[in-house]
Symmetry: C2
Subunit: 457 residues, 2 copies
């Protein structure tokens, strides 16, 4: 531990280990499945209770979906302000038959708590709450202002977050945003992520005739809906893995020197990746760096393609209808609007029979590794974990950090506390108790670190 | 009627109209669903009874599937010999809820008999049987030798026909083969088809990883099974509709002058075709003649393509598995074996991860329009129908005529008797009674015509 001021806080955390675990068990016992509207009000009330117990003022912000909670503790303009973001909603637990213990009956086995939402995200923002509580209990105060934003719609794409952030921009003003979400690096080392990819999902639908036809009677004269999609899709990405939609990647920012250096420091065992996934090779293009592909390149993934016969054996049918579902992962400085427009223009040009149906979207986000507060964060995470920190320029997936970086203009970081094998979104989601406690310590170290930091300094 | 010798035969047919219809009702009342092995033995016994009633000697030939019947009447080497081919099996009747009257309770409405198999093919080979019976009854004999080959597996791809024909080549020897199957031209004019396309069905299967992955966590590094198929398929056929599999079309024979002239004589209203099928355009290539595409060009049809998410909304999944089912329609002088080999070589070169699974296949068949017996046939069909005959060089679909043309070396013709809207393979299959009677007259005219013909003459 580099910072002796942390000793009493960490001591408090150690002594309250069992009580803190019990608090988490209690929290995850409450279902809160946003997609199915199960338990949402009770979960919001429970989260609000936990925030108020810290002494926070809390506003419950209603949305057309589920409510958000905006908590605040301290408003000294001379002190730095941190905004913690998290979400109290969880993924649906299905398939239930694969759970060893029921998803909403939290169970401890081998040092892990098993429950839906224990890692994603209740255990992680509960760790932030307990970090604040421990700091208050051990030192009698906080060295910074703390804000807390908890939403109940992250698992359904955060459809109202951007608007709420826009509407409450002044009250959300902060020097940095920290989100504890997602898994840590498999090495178990303290992890800071500086960005996320965005996403834009859409469907391609085509109907080439009123009905399916016989492949003998019409083969050669009736357009085939599946061929239409195949030929269209082939114009959108080349066999060597490059997206070929005009204008799509025009705004892509290449990695900075710092980001390149960070990628070069990340552990990587391609053989282990291949073995774990049962792959014989990586996707094309072979000449691009593994991490650059995951962090700094857009993707065009076909999530599903369905048309025509799907039964046993063969059927000589010529299908009149087919659908492809796709998502594009966005990187800085792409925008969903420009991406959708580029896809629509491309489809209109290459396959005017095909209809593009826009689905959910989320912009990307990236925070400079050189932003001053990043150094503070690295030091704090290292202090809580007795080890070097892994800087990950971006996650491959998506979180709504754009609401903070693009709308508020505040640097945003993801500092995950959950074990790498926490099985988010899957049966038997779990959080290791030692990771939970290390998360509380990390949250406390960040608060302490902010006490020694001057915004703009 | 050009031939006064036909008058007593046609008179007999007219007088026995109701009895002949009753015979057909009786025949189609017996289910004979080869794919589901329902009623096959009873149907074979019934067909055998009808052949024996003509005075034929009949052999029941067992196969690993359903039995075939080989009937013969007359063996005068000085007379021409005609072989009638047909099938006593029918398509499954499902979906049952779309039938106005039950599929195996034949019902007459508005001059049509509704029943599964009434057009495909029981009503058509029953017309041949009744033509022989009428000729015998009205004239006391036949001017030619008649053979009859009825199989019970046409609707499942005639898997044993070629071997049976090979094994019984001497007993099947004939001067021509006539099959009454499929629908007549929509104009209702007497129709003769000289060829059929073949077919070769196969699956393309690919698995790129052990399990599906998250499109954020693996998008850009894990190969996508659907993209693998899309890029492979795009190398197999160009967007302008040309098959691009090396060697596939090397053996394709262009139409002869006679065939081109016949195509040019066929009625065609592209606007009506588009309207009927609800299409806005024909398939590419636009520069090829409509009938040439259906008769003289191979096709590559994707019958089905399935992989990844198929539910509502979007799912950010990267699919590890996908399957495409395809069929290739073959034209002279392609062979299924060479086609499968070309596909396999192409796939091995362009997408070695993909497995080709061969399914059913049938060679094409074509009989020269200039073959001497064709003129006789045209004259006979015209005599029975009081009108000009439509020569159709080939049907787009497949029938096992190759067993006769390629194995026996005998010219084979399809002379359909069923109305164009007979709804083969669909609910409410039907045969117009006037078409059934005209079919009997046509069969009789063919027999009479053969009396004036000398093989090789």
């Amino acid at each position: 531990m580099n910072n002796p001021a942390l000793a009493p806080v960490f001591n408090h955390i150690d002594k309250n280990r069992d009580a803190f675990v019990a608090r988490l068990l209690d929290y995850v016992r409450q279902p809160s499945i946003s997609a199915q509207n199960i338990g949402m009000d009770a979960a919001a009330a429970l989260a609000e209770w936990h925030l108020r117990a810290l002494g926070m003022t809390v506003e419950r912000i209603e949305t057309p979906g589920h409510p958000m909670l905006l908590g605040q503790l301290g408003d000294d303009p001379a002190r730095p302000t941190i905004l913690f973001y998290g979400h109290y909603d969880v993924q649906p637990p299905e398939p239930l038959e694969h759970w060893v213990s029921p998803p909403f009956e939290p169970t401890i086995r081998d040092g892990r708590i098993y429950a839906r939402g224990v890692a994603d995200n209740k255990g992680q923002h509960m760790a932030q709450i307990l970090a604040i509580e421990s700091h208050l209990a051990a030192t009698g105060g906080l060295p910074c202002n703390v804000k807390f934003l908890l939403e109940g719609e992250e698992e359904v794409g955060s459809p109202h977050l951007a608007q709420v952030v826009r509407d409450h921009a002044e009250r959300l003003r902060a020097d940095l945003v920290v989100t504890a979400d997602g898994p840590m690096h498999p090495s178990g080392r303290g992890t800071i992520l500086y960005g996320v990819r965005g996403v834009a999902s859409f469907e391609l639908r085509v109907r080439t005739a009123r009905r399916d036809a016989h492949s003998g009677n019409f083969g050669g004269v009736m357009p085939n809906a599946i061929w239409t999609l195949v030929h269209l899709l082939a114009t959108m990405k080349s066999p060597d893995g490059r997206i070929t939609i005009d204008g799509l990647a025009d705004t892509v920012l290449p990695p900075t020197e710092a980001e390149r250096a960070a990628m070069a420091r990340l552990p990587l065992d391609i053989g282990a990746v291949l073995a774990d996934m049962g792959m014989t090779r990586l996707d094309a293009p072979a000449d691009r760096d593994y991490f650059e592909r995951l962090m700094f390149q857009p993707t065009l993934t076909i999530n599903g393609l369905h048309g025509g016969y799907d039964g046993p054996g063969s059927k000589t049918v010529l299908p009149a209808e087919a659908v492809a579902k796709c998502d594009i992962r966005l990187v800085e400085a792409m925008t969903p609007e420009a991406v959708f427009a580029a896809v629509e223009a491309h489809v209109a040009q290459h396959a005017p029979d095909v209809t593009v149906i826009r689905q959910g979207a989320m912009p990307p986000s990236r925070t400079s590794m050189d932003t001053p507060v990043a150094a503070l964060l690295r030091k704090a995470v290292a202090a809580a974990r007795d080890g070097a920190v892994l800087d990950i320029p971006s996650m491959g997936g998506s979180l709504p950090d754009h609401a903070f970086t693009r709308i508020l203009g505040v640097p945003a970081f993801v500092v995950p506390y959950a074990n790498a094998d926490s099985a988010n979104h899957a049966p038997n989601e779990n959080m290791r108790i030692d990771c939970f406690l290390a998360g509380i310590r990390t949250g406390a170290a960040i608060l302490t670190g902010l006490g020694n930091w001057t915004p703009g300094g």
